[in-house]
Subunit: 407 residues, 2 copies
């Protein structure tokens, strides 16, 4: 769709001069992948930037490698066989960059700025980087080879949910081969579980801000070491809803803390640091569009409150500790609702803050398992909860298919 193509244009450049695409410098060590854009896509709304860039570059129907002056150019023309292989894995004969091609009618343009970057100058100086909680290390694993083609990362609480998601996606993307298994890439540890199919990586993050933060530190380093570019990361989770029918899916506009503020606070070297938790607005719109395409379950955009505790921290009356009344709880949840909060979970705040700091396009898509205005206990039957938990997976699966042009 025009919207998603426009979206890709701005990921690809990743620069501040979106308005001046034609001025983007092409040089050695810049990886470019180009395919022609279909005419009808070029005419959609918001597509002018992309169009002008392609015009500026005078992209012909078929690109020969290295045909652009000063550019280190690789061209992949999508073929059905390639898609079946591994979504198009290309290798620079002189280096180890990998790149995925997904459709003849889209192109990926990446300059240095849109490779995954760290906000830490120390890592580049390290000889080896042990990602302890993943049981992976740059000294023992070839990250570019294992992960270089990753374009989508989906994260969620539990290992089993992530494995289910990868199986589902493999089938949806036509990448499933009979008898294929999706082994846990983080074998040898049970801190996290990681699965991969084509350009999609799925990782469990456990529960709560500290648990997902450890995972994100190591994931972002993994993507950096693997020299990934143009990565989108989406949390697909469960949550408690406020004033919503159970099973509703909330696409987070803003992650807020237990005082309803869009701020993530952490203590660094004994001092409090506050970070912004803004998420990508265009990605929210794209996901909403996907849910409209599907039209399978109720969906809302809203703010997501992220707490450090599931019981007292979310005003529940059924924890081991509770020193307030039903009325106190209702007042708090009503105030949350009035401030624009539609669901409550335990990871979005640091997820938004870290992805933003590292310039990763990020979204949070959570299903609500209950309406907190009506109760605290999650007592729906197992089958019902199971079906609820598949909803964010179906939505994000559709989004990925759309981005890859396989819808």
């Amino acid at each position: 769709s025009p919207a998603s193509v426009d979206r890709m244009a701005s990921i690809r450049t990743g620069t501040k001069d979106i308005e001046n695409h034609h001025k983007v410098r092409l040089r050695r060590n810049v990886i470019i992948a180009l395919c022609q854009i279909q005419k009808e896509e070029a005419e959609g709304p918001g597509f002018s930037e992309f169009k002008s860039m392609s015009e500026a570059l005078c992209i012909p129907d078929t690109w020969p490698a290295g045909s652009l002056p000063g550019a280190h150019l690789f061209v992949g023309l999508w073929k059905a066989e390639v898609l079946k292989e591994d979504m198009g894995l290309f290798r620079d004969p002189g280096g180890c960059w990998t790149l995925g091609f997904y459709k003849s009618s889209t192109f990926l343009f990446c300059d240095r700025d849109c490779f995954v970057q760290l906000c830490n100058p120390h890592v580049a100086t390290m000889k080896e980087d042990v990602l302890y909680h993943f049981n992976l290390s740059t000294g023992t694993h070839n990250f570019p080879e294992m992960f270089g083609n990753v374009k989508f990362v989906c994260v969620g609480g539990t290992p089993s949910r992530m494995q289910t998601f990868i199986r589902y996606l493999a089938s949806e993307l036509g990448l499933h081969r009979p008898g294929a298994d999706y082994p846990n890439i983080c074998e040898g540890t049970d801190r996290y579980a990681m699965f991969k199919v084509g350009p999609v990586l799925a990782i469990s993050h456990g529960m709560g801000i500290p648990s997902i933060a450890i995972m994100l530190h190591e994931l972002i380093k993994l993507l950096y070491h693997a020299r990934c570019s143009g990565v989108t990361i989406i949390r697909i989770g469960t949550s408690g809803g406020i004033g919503l029918e159970p099973g509703s899916v909330v696409i987070t506009q803003q992650a807020v803390d237990a005082c309803f503020k869009p701020e993530f606070e952490l203590v660094v070297l004994g001092k409090r640091v506050v970070r912004s938790t803004d998420l990508d607005e265009q990605l929210v719109r794209d996901l909403v569009q996907c849910s409209a395409d599907l039209s399978e379950f109720p969906i809302v955009m809203g703010n997501t409150m992220c707490t450090l505790d599931f019981y007292e921290g979310q005003g529940r009356l059924d924890g081991a500790l509770c020193s307030y009344t039903e009325k106190d709880k209702q007042d708090y949840l009503q105030a949350a609702y009035m401030s624009g909060i539609r669901n409550i979970e335990m990871e979005s705040l640091v997820f938004a803050a870290m992805c933003r700091a590292c310039d990763l396009r990020a979204a949070v898509v959570c299903v609500t398992l209950l309406d907190r205005l009506k109760g605290d206990q999650i007592s729906s039957p197992h089958e019902v909860l199971d079906e609820y938990q598949q909803r964010p997976q179906r939505l994000v699966g559709h989004f990925i298919k759309k981005c890859l042009g396989v819808v």
Copy 2:
């Protein structure tokens, strides 16, 4: 040993009038288990209270049931067969209280005050309590039958470590039967894993304060519903050391936050609440004595810093984000050392605060995997780290054996 017997005396009474044991009222609904105390134990230091109580009660060599006026009395004489069965499971014919007997030379005395209590009046009014993250419910599981005899709960980060621990303990306590398996009691969820042998329950808690807090809320409710009494809970974990040889085991005197304060802060209904994180001093001494008995690895008592983040939150230079220098980091860790901190982990603060609030005897025993003054990466070989992780298990295993009189 006299120390551990004295220790048991104060758990058993669980009242404020430790000095007046002989005045403890014996009434119906008070569960008492008595066995004779060996003479040599009675003569050890710090044993006088216990001795005077037993003297006051005129405990004979062998107790017939119900022989104490006004008391609802159950007596179990330890037998090898009973130990092999399930560490002595006794049932009140008129109720469902269960009680474990471990040794003819120790006794358990429990009045109402030492049953596990909640700090939440709402739970008692609930018809059913669904412990969602355990996939257990009072409506579908018989908690007193499943867990009523639990006296020791050991918690640690990962499912595999907890299963290893239960296997180890089964063998150490002579409770292992050939071919016996220790299935995950929380089957149907992969949020947490729970294992049990005899009076010992082991549960994984994931990483970080929110993750262990959810587990503790549900664990304390489980112990309450199961009507457990005299429970000791120990976290056996991994940590980063400060100024210690890797592999050293730290027994936590005080859990402190990233500003070195012994306080756990959480937000309840949008307001900040601060709780004390004091741990049981006598239990620390008992564990130190156990490590002296074993004499297998270096052990220290010290404060444990608990942070919300593993990378920036602990002054690491190797995360995805880092905006400080090696010197800033060293200054921070040195200041931590000077304040009495010997290791850093991510759970002790809320563990200490919640156990204290619910009057559970609690301790934190963590091995250090590296010396943070010398580096940030955990890069020791797998086998070395594996052996380190067994150290808290061996120490706590010895402690439990000693309490049960099987050493």
